[in-house]
Amino acid sequence: LEEPLIFEIGGPDTTGVDFASPLPFRGGAGGGACNDRGASSDDSPHPNPSPEEEGLSSRLGDLARSEPIGLPGLTEPETVRHYTRLSRQNYAIDLGLFPLGSCTMKHNPRLNEKVARMPGFADVHPLQPVDTVRGALEVVNELAHWLITLTGMHGVAMSPKAGAHGELCGILCIRAALEAKGDAREVILVPESAHGTNPATAAFAGYRVEDIPATSEGRVDLEALKARLGPDVAGVMITNPNTCGLFERDMKAISDAVHAAGGYVYCDGANFNAIVGRVRPGDLGVDAMHINLHKTFSTPHGGGGPGSGPVVLSEALSPFAPLPYTARTADGVVHLVEEEDADSFSEEHFGGKMQSFGRMTAFHGQMGMFTRALTYILSHGADGLRQVAEDAVLNANYVLRSLEDLLHAPFAHSGPCMHEALFGDKGFAEGLSTLDLAKALIDEGYHPMTMYFPLVVHGAMLVEPTETESKAALDQFIMALRSVAERAIAGDESMKSAPHYAPRRRLDETQAARKPLLAWQGELAPGGRAVRSEVGGR
């Protein structure tokens, strides 16, 4: 059965929300197992009197709405069914392996969800008097503490809303630090293989972006980098482990060189999950790194967000962090520091003046993600997080070595991979592409890997299994991937029309972009609802 749009089944007069007076259970119900007696109440409802009916005059002035909005309503049974059916057209980590390299689809523990819904976290307003939210502030502060501990850094900005927002935060810290020195620089160096957000962020912050070349091993070319450094270079943005799945061996040397040239090192922490508990980026000279709580620390992706991107900072950059922040003082109390008192607080308790570059968002950050991430960190602990990194790396290497005989693995010789294994399309039969392989993999019951990224490898396929897959699940996936790879090499034309067994066949993205249809255009069926247009069959 096809699921229609809410606009096609919902009417303007239908609602799944009732409004009636609070229950008048004065005295409660009477009676007992054997007796029908006791008080009973017989009040009738008063369905939302208007202000006028209450003898009040509306205070909307001349702005009271006169036109219909055009929103469809469904009753609760229809709503639950609509979204349940829709949900079943999705692939999800709960259904199977989701090998999206650089996106890290690991299991989302259900305890996290339970904790995030505790009333003291979920039902608290960000502007409540601070004394009524000390526990919430402790969560922020405790998470901040462990993020600092795990990365070996000096401070952390908690408010960035997602990874790219965190990148921006880091770059703005760098810019503020340079400006504080009166040192205006113009260029940020970014490797070709970087996430697209890196150059976009640098550009947004007013920098010119220049590429750093890579070696044939898939790592940053240290010598080329050194050659480019100079007084115009504000810093570099490096992903480590990088998007080829490799650890940047020369990270410390890079940092030293950049620092020597007066710049700062931004590390894209998207892949921190590969090294958490085994390596502290602070030990490698990093000045700023965002942490995707939904990648490393298991908060759910939710079909595209919300994310959360706290940024850990070196001592050099910490004073420039955005407001607000939380801090625990020597007396054990956790404070919320906002624009008003940042300077005085900092001077009083930490003996230094804040030079915050400003504010990145209303309120204090992604509390709902903080509770989840903290829950996850405490669940795993020091030993567990180390094991997380080890198992993630072991799983990725197992995939790499189980497929390198069949699929082109351009950096298989560069040493072990970290959290993800990179393959290319070399060897595919003429006319068959990475896209075709990916769509054929859908027919095998799997979500495809990341395609065509990083750009440095032709027809790239980036596979990240994560640590929450069992060996049995990997073996099954490897078998499926081998089978489609063999078909791609042999030139099986049927792959070009894959997927065949998904909720949809291949979708026409060109048409979508050429004639964008971005909102439903019809009118709601007045006084009832449109009968569904498609019927029967599966």
């Binding site: 002035g61 999206l100 008097p129 990916a438 949809r504």
Partner: protein, 453 residues
């Protein structure tokens, strides 16, 4: 460890296949000096679910939950009743644990939902097109400013004085780096917004005017006259809404001429959550501006068999294609919050949203009238929806703290929002929703009376 499926036997077999003698062999590329040899210092070892839950519950109980007190806070985050079915649906594993719908053939659930969401937001805002959501209202607001600059190729921004100060601060912060010039102010305690003063600041270098509706004091500015004035100077009108429920009762920004409408969607379906994650809404009145929009967009198309389907589209605007030339560096949207919003809005429908808005307004009117009777209290607003400003003749910040000690969450003091501005210090923002009872209002009135006497 309950989240790690590999057994030691598995690990052994896999190391063998990989050709490594130990897990350390896989970390050979990490320089010796950077390798940690034992578990990281300071963090406890793994703990049982029960122990972690207990710890987190203890922290949770150190907070005063809104349900446990008469509650009147708003100022950009509103407490509404969220139907139980909303949380049921967003916890479906297929929504909760899905990624961005990059493979549309197996992500139609998320994609159709986003298409429905965009359609709902566009209608609510009186716009042609809405995107698939932003981080939150404040970042959406800045993105609107940046978009206006791209469209008008101008770099002077006029902010209404009655803009939420956090939002204004975000715009100012970002503008420091993008070198846009920001003209802003703080509000004056007047019964109506100063539209004429705002209009006077628009000139032919203005890229956009940013107006909040209802504004930070709860007042409802007439947007049409601002739109007309802006358009006359070739500037765009950006309207910010932080209480979508209001739009069930008042005219939409789009129908009053707003060019870009942004907002915070948290009030529908998402909940308070101490400030995040929230839901940025972003829409444009004129479809020709679509290609300048930031963020993800979901569009309708067909599959190879001609069946209707949905995909992420116009991604040539986005960072993963355009890199440094993208409209924005934004990557993530707020998908799960968008789902919550869309489900709640579907449950409400036109009828429910209007009834909800009416109920909010009704109770707010009762509250305003009741508080006006408290000696020393006066209601500022000529008009309002579900939030209004009262003046209480003394430092509201201290009064709010005092009332909190007595278990009444009285509202947001203007002193908290605009610290250091003495002219605003006696102002208190009071928000009333359908979750407020008349008994709560009475409690607040009595408590205020006690505190002020």
């Amino acid at each position: 460890m309950r989240y790690l499926p590999l057994t030691d036997a598995d690990r052994g077999a896999m190391l063998e296949k990989v050709g490594a003698s130990s897990i350390d062999d896989l970390f050979v590329d990490v320089p010796e000096e950077a390798r940690l040899t034992g578990p990281i210092h300071g963090l406890p070892m793994h703990a049982s679910e029960m122990a972690v839950e207990k710890h987190m519950r203890r922290l949770s109980k150190k907070n005063l939950a809104a349900a446990d007190a008469p509650f009147f806070l708003g100022a950009g985050a509103y407490r509404h009743h969220v139907p139980a079915s909303v949380d049921h649906i967003i916890q479906r594993g297929e929504f909760l644990t899905a990624y961005t719908p990059y493979q549309p053939e197996i992500a139609q659930g998320t994609l159709q939902m986003l298409f429905e969401f965009q359609s709902q937001v566009a209608r609510l805002y009186g716009c042609a097109v809405a995107n698939a959501s932003m981080y939150d209202g404040s970042t959406a607001c800045w993105e609107a400013v940046a978009m206006a600059a791209r469209i008008t190729k101008r770099d002077r921004v006029v902010l209404s004085g009655a803009l939420h100060p956090h939002y204004a601060e975000v715009v100012r912060t970002m503008a420091k780096f993008t070198e846009d010039a920001i003209a802003g102010a703080e509000p004056a305690l007047q019964s109506a917004p100063d539209n004429q003063g705002l209009i006077a600041r628009i000139d032919d270098k203005t890229s956009c005017v940013v107006v909040q509706y209802p504004d930070i004091l709860g007042r409802l500015p007439n947007l049409q006259e601002i739109a007309d004035a802006a358009h006359e100077k070739g500037a765009l009108l950006v309207v910010l809404n932080t209480e979508p429920v209001a739009l069930g009762a008042v005219k939409s920004p789009g129908e009053q001429g707003a060019d870009i409408v942004v907002g915070e969607g948290q009030a529908i379906g998402v909940g308070l959550q101490f400030g995040g994650p929230y839901l940025g809404l972003f829409a444009v009145r004129d479809p020709k501006h679509v290609r300048q929009m930031p963020g993800r967009l979901c569009g309708e198309t067909v599959d190879a068999e001609g069946k209707r389907g949905f995909v992420l589209t116009l991604s040539t605007r986005e960072q993963h294609i355009r890199r440094e030339k993208a409209t924005s560096n934004i990557c993530t949207n707020s998908g799960l919050c968008a789902l919550a919003f869309s489900v709640h809005m579907t449950l409400l429908g036109e009828k429910g949203l209007r009834a909800l808005a009416a109920e909010n307004h009704r109770l707010a009117c009762i509250a305003a009238d009741r508080l006006a009777k408290v000696p020393g209290v006066s209601v500022l607003n000529d008009n309002f929806f579900n939030e209004f400003t009262v003046r209480i003749g003394q430092d509201a910040r201290a009064v709010v703290r005092k009332l909190a000690e007595d278990g009444v969450l009285a509202g947001v003091s203007l002193g908290r929002l605009f610290p250091g501005n003495d002219a605003l210090a006696d102002g208190l923002l009071v928000a009333v929703t359908e979750t407020t009872t008349e008994e709560d209002i009475e409690t607040l009135a009595s408590a205020l009376e006690g505190a002020l006497s």
